[in-house]
């Protein structure tokens, strides 16, 4: 029976890819190990090797097709003795349940943007900015909006700031020639050259220290960590050197530096690669900590972070890199650090989150609306300094609050938010603040356990109903 070649998943977070090129023609012989096609993922262009022998029977997806979902049959291979006449005998396209298993958590999938002319099947899934009930105060009315991925928003933010200020440079692992491990720095080397886009050896402690030293000398480094998991090696330099120097020097010497990179859980990369550092860094005076959700915020806040004269921790989320959103087309779109945003207004309960936690929060708000509960959803955006005023004002209105975070609950940011609400709005609370968080376990590898370890929309809905006594 002919063998189907399926669109492979080439990275832990890949959901679809572009079939850029076929290297074999129909009718050509194929040996195991032959490169048969090139596929462009959100991270890189990869070669697809055949694992079966035979003849390339039929190409099902022509080259140049964009957004081919993982596990879609892309070709059939005929075994020895089979002919084109056997093609019809190929098994039905890959079973759904198998696909669902091998694809990262459903949350991210449902959020997949319909940026390109993909299939019509993903027409629901409202993306965050569209759900916004409140206009962005930073954007003048009538501003043209451009749809772009968060990855592009980050790159544009860096490129704009590098054009503006020659002291700004980027350093990190694979940021230059490889074009970024997650393609966030794509094209920067070509525009700014190797002097300002610097590949480092895999030595986080050392290059973080070099970055801080360069910042003490007045440069404005953007230090990319491939992920914040690896920044644990550099924490001494981030906290003891970057965060404390201004204070220890009596204000003489500061450190304008941005440490950025993906934080928190990606998909199926297990305990050592899936940690959320929101609480860790946001405890430290001297640091500013930003963790945005929408594409516009990623751009406007990264620009603000690069201009800020203080050390800034910029926590990104790998699951969001490919998500698209509308970004204002302005020459210089900078969002002030330290301001939360009410993304959806409502009078019954306040749901507070940031970064990827917002995806649960917003979907939960949709669900709750169906049951007559209007949730006000606040995107914290900056964890330090925390915009307590916005949180408190909302809770004074709703009398109820739920926090949502992917990190662990003990000493988490949700606990801090709950404490602030208690301190500033105790008399307005109609129920104890509820916390939805990652479970108190190292991140497991198995798909089902991983899903259980993370917060879910259902948990947020349940918590919101509980504080509403519903």
């Amino acid at each position: 029976m002919p063998i189907q070649v399926l669109m492979p998943a080439l990275s832990p977070t890949m959901e679809k890819g572009n079939l850029s090129k076929w290297l074999k023609k129909e009718g050509e012989a194929i040996k195991s190990g032959d490169v048969i096609a090139e596929i462009e993922t959100d991270k890189a262009t990869m070669e697809v090797e055949a694992t079966d022998e035979g003849t390339l029977g039929k190409i099902l997806i022509p080259e140049g097709t964009a957004d081919v979902a993982v596990n879609t049959p892309i070709a059939t291979i005929l075994a020895d003795g089979e002919s084109a006449a056997d093609l019809g005998k190929a098994p039905a396209p890959a079973k759904q349940e198998k696909a669902a298993e091998s694809v990262p958590p459903a949350e991210a999938k449902a959020e997949a943007p319909a940026s390109k002319s993909g299939g019509g099947e993903e027409k629901k899934a409202p993306s965050a900015p569209k759900a916004a009930a409140e206009p962005d105060p930073e954007v003048p009315a009538g501003t043209e909006m451009v749809t772009m991925t968060i990855r592009e928003a980050l790159r544009d933010a860096m490129a704009e700031e590098m054009r503006r200020d020659p002291d700004v440079f980027v350093m990190g692992e694979e940021v230059a020639e490889y074009q970024g491990a997650y393609k966030v720095t794509q094209g920067l080397l070509q525009e700014f050259g190797a002097k300002r886009v610097i590949d480092t050896p895999i030595t986080e402690h050392g290059f973080a220290g070099i970055g801080v030293g360069a910042a003490m000398a007045g440069l404005k480094p953007i230090v990319e960590f491939m992920t914040f998991n690896f920044a644990m090696q550099a924490m001494d330099q981030i906290i003891n050197s970057a965060a404390k120097t201004l204070y220890m020097s009596g204000g003489q010497m500061g450190c304008a530096i941005v440490f950025r990179g993906p934080n928190g859980a990606a998909a199926r990369v297990a305990a050592q690669h899936s940690q959320d550092y929101s609480a860790w860094y946001s405890q430290v005076p001297g640091l500013k900590v930003i963790a945005p959700y929408s594409a516009a915020d990623y751009k406007g806040l990264l620009k603000a972070a690069i201009r800020d004269p203080n050390p800034v921790i910029f926590l990104e989320n790998e699951m969001l890199y490919g998500h698209s959103g509308e970004v204002p087309k302005l020459d210089d779109y900078v969002i002030p650090i330290g301001k939360a945003r009410i993304v959806r207004t409502g009078g019954h309960v306040t749901i507070i989150s940031w970064s990827n936690g917002m995806s649960y929060a917003l979907k939960a708000a949709d669900e709750l609306a169906k049951e007559g509960i209007e949730a006000e959803v606040i995107d914290l955006r900056t964890l330090r300094p925390m915009d307590t005023d916005t949180l408190v004002a909302s809770v004074k209105k709703t009398g109820r609050a739920v926090t949502v975070e992917e990190g662990w609950q003990q000493n988490g940011v949700g606990g801090e938010i709950a404490a602030r609400i208690m301190e500033h709005a105790f008399d307005y609370l109609d129920a104890p603040v509820a916390r939805v968080s990652g479970k108190d376990v190292p991140m497991p590898y198995a798909a089902n356990l991983e899903k259980l370890a993370l917060p879910s929309v259902a948990e947020v809905v349940e918590a919101a109903k509980a504080v509403c006594y519903r």
């Binding site: 070099i210 910042a215 000398a217 005076p285």
Partner: protein, 344 residues
């Protein structure tokens, strides 16, 4: 000169002076001798006073004295030009004075007063002077090595010919980030001189008990960084080695390692009874190799009078006494200072 070049020095048993090897270094002019003497004396008297104030309870926390090692910072500073940067660890008072920071401001920081370089918020281990290009004063062993490499990175990025000096001890030489920094410094040809102040003890652990390779000038071999052992008790040898390393860096040839063989007379910190070495060992170095006595003796041999030398000492004592007086009478920082300088 790509290969490490070093003076032939054997591992000492702890009794014999280190690095007193090969040929004697170039002579100083009379002015250089006088300047070196004055600068070393200032550090010595300052540190003696700091020890005294610590004993009186005027200085708190950790206090690491530089007595015995003065020739290193003074000799190296003579090799620098304005604009070059200096960074070091926690045994840092000597480095500050050598870069020209005021004794008053340093001592007032030690006593935690408003007039200190950090308004009393840094203390002995954390002081900085933007004006003098002194980048601290770092309390975490080895951190200054990466930071100093970053200062050199900035020089290279800006295309100037300034050099950064990253000082650290034999103890810090075993830290991982030192080698991460070595690798990048050579890879990117950064103008940084790694000055390893080998005073033979990492707190209470002797070099031979903590280090597999006790010739620290060789610590850059696997990165192709040249290194040299220097008699760190002879200010002329330090200056000569500094001149050579500075020229190497300014010429864009990358980093250089200087192992300064030295000795600290006092304990690791004020609370260290120094039971890990004998009184005789300390006395022998003091008697045979003291960096200040070496200069004094040469000046006396060159017909300078005891009177003239005493006048220099008196001048230095006056500066130190004035600093101590200021540091004890200057007000503590205003309570409002608690919340300043956290963000810009």
């Amino acid at each position: 000169m790509a290969a490490p070049k070093k003076s032939a020095t054997k591992e000492t048993s702890g009794e014999k002076a280190q690095g007193n090897g090969s040929s004697s270094p170039p002579e100083f002019t009379r002015d250089q001798e006088l300047s070196a003497l004055r600068d070393m004396l200032l550090i010595r008297r300052f540190e003696e006073k700091a020890g005294q104030l610590y004993g009186m309870g005027a200085i708190g926390g950790f206090c690491h004295l530089y007595i015995g090692q003065e020739a290193i910072v003074v000799g190296m500073q003579m090799a620098l030009k304005k604009g070059d940067q200096v960074i070091t660890g926690y045994r840092d008072h000597g480095h500050m004075l050598a870069t020209g920071m005021e004794a008053k401001g340093v001592m007032a920081e030690l006593t935690g007063r408003h007039g200190g370089y950090s308004h009393g918020k840094g203390g002995s281990m954390h002081m900085f002077s933007k004006e003098k290009n002194f980048f601290g004063g770092h309390g975490i062993v080895g951190a200054q090595v990466s930071l100093g490499t970053g200062l050199a990175f900035a020089n290279r990025y800006r295309g100037n010919d300034f050099v950064s000096l990253a000082y650290f001890g034999d103890g810090a030489s075993n830290q991982g980030q030192v080698y991460e920094s070595f690798n990048m410094a050579e890879l990117w040809k950064l103008p940084v001189i790694y000055v390893i102040e080998n005073n033979r003890y990492a707190m209470g652990t002797s070099v031979s008990r903590s280090s597999a390779q006790t010739d620290f000038s060789k610590r850059g071999v696997s990165f192709n960084i040249p290194g040299e052992q220097v008699d760190g008790m002879d200010v002329r040898a330090v200056k000569a080695a500094g001149d050579m390393a500075v020229a190497w860096c300014r010429a864009g040839k990358g980093p250089y390692i200087l192992e300064m063989q030295t000795y600290r007379y006092r304990g690791h910190s004020m609370s260290d009874p120094a039971k890990y070495r004998t009184r005789e060992e300390v006395d022998k170095v003091r008697h045979d190799q003291d960096p200040i006595e070496q200069v004094r003796n040469r000046l006396l041999a060159a017909k300078m009078s005891e009177q003239e030398l005493k006048a220099i000492d008196a001048e230095v004592r006056e500066i130190v006494n004035a600093a101590a007086d200021f540091a004890q009478h200057d007000p503590e920082p205003d309570p409002s200072e608690l919340y300043t300088d956290i963000y810009r």
